[in-house]
Subunit: 227 residues, 2 copies
Amino acid sequence: MTPRLLHLKQNVLEKNDRLANGLRLRFRQAGVLVLNLVSSPGTGKTALLESTLARMRARGLRVAALVGDLATENDARRLARSGAPVRQIVTDGICHLEAEMIETHLAASRWPLAELDFLFIENVGNLVCPSGYDLGEDLRVVLLSVTEGEDKPVKYPSLFNTADVAVLTKIDLAEAVDFDRAAAYANLQAVRPGLRVFETSAKTGQGLEAWLAFLLEARTQRLAETS
Amino acid sequence: MTPRLLHLKQNVLEKNDRLANGLRLRFRQAGVLVLNLVSSPGTGKTALLESTLARMRARGLRVAALVGDLATENDARRLARSGAPVRQIVTDGICHLEAEMIETHLAASRWPLAELDFLFIENVGNLVCPSGYDLGEDLRVVLLSVTEGEDKPVKYPSLFNTADVAVLTKIDLAEAVDFDRAAAYANLQAVRPGLRVFETSAKTGQGLEAWLAFLLEARTQRLAETS
């Protein structure tokens, strides 16, 4: 990258950080726990979110989702089936979400944040671009499917390094793809020591209750911290 | 993107196009067919390449590979097992390869291009960043695994739209993931009408001979055109 391009990119990131900090303050005041889901395309962000929204709604929790994609509104349509309010952010070729997009779409949605328990942000499928863009989230969740290869954390360190928690998806396929669990965990820990890992399958439901319990506990903790 | 950033990006792309055209000329003069493999992380570019290099070498073809990654030299080590000359390009956080990197690494490799039949370039795993960067290749090959979801072509249209041929990978898992072949083909054709599609499994070997035959035929055609 040329020095001029680098300088401009730094300005963009600084502006994004300012907006993200403003969002984070609003989210905390409203008492909503915000998650930013990042992963490669096809890892299963939408499938995990579909199950999570449905299970949360079944428990009477108030949830909403913002879904980023380069093109198409497919994901929003899929997620809307859960009954939760969902809004698609079409980025028109930009390979990540930015705090400004979140601000704009929250304003347009008119969702009263204080009436939400959880807000999920599904980022654009990309293991590189989203790393530098804070969206004001409480937790950044990186997903990795067992079909992608155990080496992804060390090959895309910046994204895994900025994650607060990891979810291994499509765990029902582990055997079919000879998934090397030990290698995957070692690579995750090498890039982000102490990273908490959940194993899930949106297809069979495996691990979803533990994942849900973690989210509920995270919200309880956050509320205790800010009250 | 701000107008200034957009303008700088256009300059970068124009410079890349000039270098790529120079590379293309050199490749044609040398009689080497050059392929640029692009896909999401974990789709199986390295696995396909491993099988392709081994099978080509078994037939006495002269092949080499340049392999791009943000970090690590894992892929080059894997591919070197085929016995083919392989060189890793570590991009240090940049999410695509650029013509200048190809030029630099070809110079450093000292490979006599005229003594190669095929040069494979494995791009950084990303469904967005590589789209705009011509590397002087003859064919851009986009890979899509059956585990990623049939909707990827319409969600990442720019990359699929610039591809000359598509390879569906991990076809041995099609049944386990309820792969919807008709939907995948419809989406590929919607984004890139007439796109030729190969179905392969590096694990079982399925489809690899047809893929190889296509590559050999493409080289024969190219040589006929330029002679």
